[in-house]
């Protein structure tokens, strides 16, 4: 399958009084057309920054894109001007933001917000735009679409709002959708509904999706391939089954571990969390890695291909892993 999205050598930093701090450093990330790709990492790993950079929505400064290229379809994003981006955003790429409380504008009704997006991206007006808006609300399985249209965001529940946000993003008619932790601020019971909806919509509408989450179990339901992001770098990526069954990178393993039970296990977690420094050199995971050695502090880990669809960035491979 042809790669629809290709990110190469992307380095993004943030400037502050203390100097620059690298937050995204990706060698290569490819997503095929119609595929759902999951990106997993803890908060602060640079997921959202990466998402915003795909839309060229990072505030520069303080953000600085040092190098790299982003290709989406046949568009080379980074050199585009703001005016060109206004026509790409929405029409080609749309984004579902993480906080349903703050993503909707409080002073407009839901209907006004959807219709505005439809009018901009699909050139529909008046009744037609309204009709389309109703369809969109029905598409995300909200009952009483007519009523929902007239409501202000604060009159809706969190789950309803997130569905509205998805409806607005879909109303753009984009072929590429970025979902940035769409279930982050929702109750667990509502999360499942939203995830199911997203998975269904992805299949029926055949859009390409970049799904960002802080939790492996969330992406495992919706995505075919996943990547694990640590301090802005991808440490392991591959097919979701493969990674869940045979995690290789120590970071992935920690994420997949059950909750710590014994005192010893808890202490280990605490120790690993106490270090939050950025590595100037070597492996980004060196401070928290249980099996870090001298080499990890000095050299960037190489990329190991394990099997057809599985790669890992680590100096050490378990016996037999490379053979598979």
């Amino acid at each position: 399958m042809e790669d629809y999205i290709e990110i190469k050598d992307l380095k993004i930093s943030f400037k502050s009084y203390d100097g620059q701090k690298r937050v995204v450093d990706i060698d290569e990330l490819k997503i095929a057309k119609g595929e759902a790709y999951g990106l997993v990492g803890e908060s602060g790993s640079g997921k959202s920054v990466l998402a915003l950079s795909l839309l060229k929505l990072l505030t520069e400064p303080p953000a600085v894109i040092e190098s790299g290229s982003i290709r989406i379809g046949n568009l080379n994003i980074l050199p585009k001007s703001e005016r060109e981006m206004e026509n790409i955003r929405g029409k080609k790429i749309a984004m579902i933001f993480q906080d349903p409380m703050s993503t909707l504008n409080p002073v407009f009704t839901v209907g006004q917000q959807i219709i505005k997006v439809i009018a901009k991206n699909q050139n529909l007006k008046g009744k037609q735009a309204r009709q389309k808006a109703l369809e969109m609300i029905e598409l995300v399985k909200l009952p009483d679409a007519e009523q929902i249209m007239e409501k202000y965001p604060h009159e809706l529940s969190g789950g309803q709002r997130q569905r509205v946000i998805i409806a607005i993003a879909l109303a753009c008619g984009a072929e590429f959708l970025i979902a940035d932790e769409p279930t982050r601020n929702l109750d667990v019971t509502i999360q499942a509904g939203i995830l199911k909806l997203l998975a269904e919509l992805q299949k029926t509408l055949k859009v390409t999706v970049l799904f960002i989450a802080n939790n492996l179990s969330l992406v495992s339901l919706t995505c075919r391939r996943i990547g694990l992001l640590y301090h802005g770098q991808i440490v392991e990526q591959g097919e979701v089954r493969e990674i869940l069954d045979h995690p290789v990178h120590p970071y992935t393993k920690t994420l997949l571990q059950p909750l710590p039970q014994t005192e010893e296990e808890k202490e280990a977690v605490r120790r690993s969390l106490s270090v939050q420094e950025n590595a100037d050199q070597g492996c980004p995971y060196q401070f928290r890695c249980p099996r870090a050695e001298e080499i990890c502090k000095k050299e960037m880990p190489p990329v190991h291909q394990i099997g057809e669809n599985h790669e890992v960035h680590c100096h050490f491979l378990e016996e037999g892993e490379s053979a598979r």
């Binding site: 839309l55 984004m95 993503t103 409080p106 002073v107 997006v117």
Partner: protein
């Protein structure tokens, strides 16, 4: 929500009572001989005695306050020393021209101030921003009475474009059949279709209006700028951008509407300032309104008149603020 409104109205009533109490203290307790002030320095001994009787100065202070309050509630603000007519009547006569100025000045300030606010916020830290911010600090630092004189000097003295003062030219007053329906001259002219008088009245309005609008323009511009900068950082603005909505539309339609809440508050605050500024400006422009009335009263030491206008403006200000607070709290479109 209901609780908030009831609370706010109660607070308004308490503040109104407080306002009355303060004016009472100022008029009856601070002066060494209030009766003398109430009838003027050239009064006879009998007149002073009568005033003492009328004001109840021989009664204990709390009783005096009760009488005072009772009079207020019945709309009795005493009689003007100069004209010997009820102060309430004179206030009502002088109110429409002043309201005309305040309203038009405020509308001008809202439009100009918001435009300036958007311009400065969208060009943050560029020269437009620096210039705009300098203007908004400058406009609140200008003595309005001086601005009035400067504008007269420029537009009447040098350019000879606009009349120096008054509400109508002599010609219009004599031959123009000045309409009187509501007391708002511009509105009356439109209602009766009298366009020659309308033009004349408008030309007289421009300078006082601009003078009064300067201060609130600066306030609104400043508020709009800071509110916009805050709002432009919100997630929903990023979201709107990600749907491909154009920056211009985001600024003028989305964000501006979000900044309405704080702007409403600033506008009502500045209406109070504008009203008090008419006291300084109207006499310069010879504008026949409340401001000229009170500056005449100050000149003639016409205490009941000073008192009446003060009480009236203070109450208007308190009520206006109360309404603004309730509107802001009620309407989801201005609430943030």
């Amino acid at each position: 929500m209901k609780n908030f409104i009831i609370k706010r109205i109660l607070l308004g009533v308490v503040v109104l009572l407080g306002v009355v109490a303060i004016t009472f203290v100022v008029t009856r307790v601070i002066p060494s001989n209030p009766a003398l002030q109430w009838v003027g320095s050239r009064a006879t001994a009998e007149q002073i005695a009568a005033a003492e009787e009328e004001l109840g100065l021989n009664k204990p202070i709390p009783v005096q306050l009760g009488i005072y309050l009772n009079d207020m509630l019945h709309g009795d603000l005493g009689y003007s020393l100069k004209s010997h007519r009820p102060v309430v009547d004179e206030i009502m006569e002088n109110l429409p021209p002043t309201l005309e100025l305040v309203l038009l000045g405020t509308i001008f300030a809202i439009v100009a101030g918001m435009a300036l606010g958007v311009l400065t916020a969208s060009h943050k830290n560029k020269w437009q921003d620096h210039l705009g911010r300098f203007f908004s600090v400058g406009s609140v630092s200008l003595p309005t009475f001086w601005v009035a004189l400067l504008l007269q000097l420029l537009f009447y003295g040098v350019l000879k474009l606009l009349p120096i003062g008054g509400r109508l030219s002599m010609d219009a007053q004599l031959f123009g059949q000045v309409p009187d329906v509501t007391g708002f001259l511009l509105l009356d002219c439109l209602l009766t279709g009298n366009f020659s008088v309308f033009g004349d009245a408008l030309s007289h309005l421009i300078l006082p209006c601009i003078t009064l609008a300067l201060y609130p323009t600066g306030m609104v511009a400043r508020m709009t700028r800071s509110a916009l900068l805050e709002i432009l950082n919100e997630d929903y603005i990023k979201a709107a951008q990600s749907y491909g909505i154009k920056r211009k539309i985001i600024l003028w339609k989305y964000a501006l509407k979000n900044s309405l809440g704080p702007t409403v508050t600033v506008v009502t605050l500045s209406v109070g300032y504008t009203l008090v500024n008419t006291f300084l400006v109207e006499s310069v422009f010879n504008w026949p309104g409340l401001g000229s009335y009170i500056s005449d009263a100050v000149m003639n030491m016409d205490y009941p008149a000073i008192m009446g206008v003060t009480l009236f403006s203070a109450c208007a200000y308190v009520v206006l603020n109360m309404i603004a607070d309730i509107v802001v709290a009620l309407d989801p479109r201005v609430r943030i």
